[in-house]
């Protein structure tokens, strides 16, 4: 939980008793009921400056349920209905986060930069650190796209030079050797958290594709020297690992793991 979220949660719990009762009733089994009750509270308090706070809270609940588009609509409404309030700033930060997760970097950075330009030290800090993080994410995402394009171009050129798609069949020995290991990786992914599981699955499937394409190419045109194909293979495996980490949003965790060690 980041600083802005912690402040938001603390402030939400400092509301009036009716508001508090709705907030504290939102257990994981009653999100829809809690949202309906809060909607009633909003409808019963037209023009209330606290309605933006209610909308931000509802958006937070929607996000926890994975309904990002519903959360976006609520946050945009909070921006419209609570201009100049603290809750409009929370809504702006949350909208920036949604844009960032959807790889819409320019609008996310614009929102964060707006927050960084505010006079309040908290929002200056939140905005500037989020903007710096978003810029890093944008650079990593561009590198990921360039890597994927390079891998696709290399694979396509090799398949064409090897004689077309027929050169891919039967699957090469490289893939058959490692298939049991890749299947174990896929099975082990089931026990992980969602982003980590997606990264392991991406690595397993991408690894199978790399082994298939490299094996078919080397079978069709055996190399005289192993140095170049081996170096290219190493580079492709590293690129695959990078893509699996960045695509699934694990880059920051990887940096922390290198700095502090694995948990």
């Amino acid at each position: 939980m980041c600083l802005a979220e912690a402040v938001a949660v603390a402030a939400l719990l400092a509301a009036d008793p009716a508001f508090d009762a709705i907030v504290t009733s939102a257990t994981s089994t009653s999100h829809e009921q809690a949202l309906a009750r809060m909607q009633e509270w909003v409808d019963a308090h037209p023009g209330d400056p606290e309605s933006a706070r209610a909308l931000v809270w509802m958006a937070r609940l929607r996000r926890s349920d994975g309904r990002d588009e519903a959360a976006r609509a609520l946050l945009e409404r909070a921006l419209r209905e609570g201009p100049g309030t603290e809750w409009a700033l929370h809504a702006e930060k949350a909208l920036g986060d949604l844009d960032l997760e959807a790889h819409r970097y320019a609008p996310a950075i614009a929102r964060y930069d707006h927050l960084a330009g505010l006079p309040a030290p908290l929002w200056r800090y939140v905005g500037s650190s989020a903007a710096g993080h978003a810029r890093g994410e944008r650079t990593r995402f561009r590198i990921l796209i360039a890597i994927l394009a390079a891998l696709a171009a290399l694979s396509l050129a090799r398949v064409i030079r090897a004689g077309g798609p027929r050169s891919l069949w039967p699957p090469p020995a490289e893939l058959l050797w490692l298939l049991p290991v890749l299947l174990v990786l896929l099975a082990a992914a089931a026990a992980q958290e969602a982003p980590e599981a997606r990264a392991v699955v991406s690595l397993s499937l991408g690894g199978a594709a790399l082994l298939w394409l490299n094996g078919a190419w080397l079978r069709a045109r055996p190399p005289r020297r192993m140095a170049l194909p081996a170096l290219l293979g190493l580079g492709q495996a590293l690129a695959l690992l990078y893509c699996a980490m960045v695509w699934n949003g694990l880059w920051d965790k990887l940096v922390d793991t290198i700095a502090m060690g694995a948990q």
């Binding site: 090469p172 020995a173 490289e174 050797w177 490692l178 290991v181 890749l182 990786l185 082990a188 992914a189 026990a191 992980q192 980590e196 990264a199 392991v200 690595l203 397993s204 690894g207 790399l210 082994l211 490299n214 094996g215 080397l218 079978r219 055996p222 190399p223 005289r224 020297r225 192993m226 194909p229 081996a230 293979g233 190493l234 492709q236 495996a237 590293l238 695959l240 690992l241 699996a244 980490m245 694990l250 920051d252 965790k253 990887l254 922390d256 793991t257 502090m260 060690g261 694995a262 948990q263």
Partner: protein, 62 residues
């Protein structure tokens, strides 16, 4: 009469090097990701080596 040592709170276990607030990857995920990438790289390198040996053997055979 109970032994006073039994009533004292006891430390049941100690794990060194673990930060409960850490945002690092777990050991198992780190092993799966890096081990998987290493296995893929090793297979490609091994395949290149064996196939280049096969090519040389063919050339010597001619």
């Amino acid at each position: 009469m109970t032994d006073s040592r039994d009533e004292r709170p006891r430390i049941l276990g100690v794990r060194f090097g673990v930060n409960p607030n850490s945002s690092s990857l777990g050991v198992d995920v780190t092993f799966l990701l890096f081990g998987g990438a290493l296995a893929v790289a090793t297979s490609i390198v091994l395949g290149a080596w064996l196939r280049s040996r096969g090519k040389k053997a063919e050339q010597v055979g001619q």
